[in-house]
């Protein structure tokens, strides 16, 4: 019964996954730019971000339409509301990746301090892994994965060690190196954090437990 509606909900979840894959492409480009300063990847990321934004708008419109027309309840309601909340996180992760990609022309500043650059690389690995796990939680609706991502603490010392590494750097371009490195570091930190929020959102979608909803406000 209500086959058309059921199909639409399935399509909705699938479209979110596709948006997640687009964001994943930009997360990957972000990592390439961080490692190599590749300008082509940066340009591709800018173009891809427009597609991500378009998908975000289109998904929002579909959610409004479904809410208006079908008045979904129970798991259906949680799905539609979760789509709105999850796409907002995806869009944000996309923007943060783009912020790093846009540093490509100044890549020489990022590599100037080998110590700081090494920390950035580790932070990027963590952020990418967290994001991919969150995306996997969405595509499988697997509670164990969602809980693991939600529980993953942000790398607590990364920010501080990054500052310490920058303080140790004594090049003539120390100010610019520090500014750009911190932009990248903060963006990576935020990506990992948004991925954890995604895990929490997906956990509530799966369980419907009010405690899980409350736990999202941290």
């Amino acid at each position: 019964m209500r086959q058309h509606y059921t199909d639409e909900l399935e399509q909705l979840a699938l479209q979110v996954e596709l948006m997640g894959v687009l964001v994943d492409e930009n997360v990957e480009r972000m990592q390439t730019v961080l490692e190599t300063g590749d300008l082509t990847s940066a340009e591709a990321a800018i173009a891809c971000d427009d597609r991500i934004d378009d998908m975000n708008v289109s998904l929002m419109e579909r959610c409004y339409e479904l809410l208006r027309r079908e008045a979904p309840v129970a798991a259906d309601l949680r799905l539609v509301v979760s789509v709105l909340r999850v796409t907002a996180e995806l869009e944000r992760i996309g923007d943060l990746s783009l912020r790093i990609a846009k540093l490509a022309p100044e890549h020489h500043l990022l590599v100037a301090s080998p110590a700081a650059f090494g920390i950035l690389g580790a932070m990027a690995d963590h952020a990418v892994m967290q994001y991919r796990e969150a995306l996997r939680a969405w595509s499988t609706f697997d509670l164990a994965i969602a809980e693991r991502v939600a529980a993953e603490p942000p790398v607590p010392l990364a920010g501080r060690t990054l500052i310490e590494a920058l303080l140790d750097y004594e090049g003539h371009d120390a100010v610019m190196v520090s500014l750009r490195t911190m932009v990248a570091g903060q963006a990576l930190d935020r990506i990992a954090d948004h991925a954890a929020v995604l895990g929490a959102r997906i956990r509530y979608l799966i369980t419907g437990d009010p405690d899980h909803l409350a736990a999202e406000v941290r």
């Binding site: 019964m1 209500r2 509606y5 059921t6 008045a71 979904p72 309840v73 129970a74 798991a75 259906d76 309601l77 949680r78 369980t207 419907g208 437990d209 009010p210």
Partner: protein, 287 residues
Amino acid sequence: MSPDLTAATEPVGTSGATDVVGPNEVATPSVVFDVRELAVYYGEFRAVRDVDLEVHQHEITAFIGPSGCGKSTVLRCFDRMNDLIEGARVDGRILYHGVDLYDPRIDPVEVRKRIGMVFQKPNPFPKSIYDNVAFGPRLAGRKKDLDDTVERALRRAALWDEVKDRLGRSAMGLSGGQQQRLCIARAIAVEPEVILMDEPCSALDPIATARIEDLMQELKVDYTILIVTHNMQQAARVSDRTAFFTTEVNSESDTRTGVLVEYDKTDKMFSAPSDERTENYITGRFG
């Protein structure tokens, strides 16, 4: 509070009522009805089985479920309306403030004074608006301050401003929505504690429905309301708790019996129900 619902000639009082319940079964104050293992039979046919739920004071409790699931049958147990159907029999207990409504000493007429009913189709008497509202109080022997009683009931039912200049005119001239609010005024004129509503909006247009729903929110401050509705959005909008009933097919006798599947706070029922059958019904994927 243990109400005295016995016939006037045979007073039993509080102690008698306590005996009916038993010493270890004192109901919590906010519980108006405590339903335990309720089953309703029509002759040999078991219409509903195993209903256990508590109805709380100043809340709106909604009964939902597909046709034939027994929700109206259960509602009618609360004011002993099933007594009026030949062959109907009730098993289990409905405790009203700890008093068993089906105790032989209980007078059904007393029950209906405290527990009013509003039906699916507005059913005003073919009398004046005033006489409709005054009917219950007159029957109870009230003669003094009848005008005040009528005005208060009509105000409570959000109808006074629309009818105050034509109280002597026939109730049949009112619109469907007005007639239903008149029936609510008639029900509350005898100052009941509980109002039962059996699909009170199913014959009304959306505007009249919205007025009744608003009215229910106002009335729950003073009354406890139980409503049977086919409209799930209505249950989600107006009620504090929702009971979902469904039917079970008895393959041997090829009959259907209503069962209570799930009873919980409405926001829980409509956001994360515990039972898959509830989920399937409220999302429209039933069967």
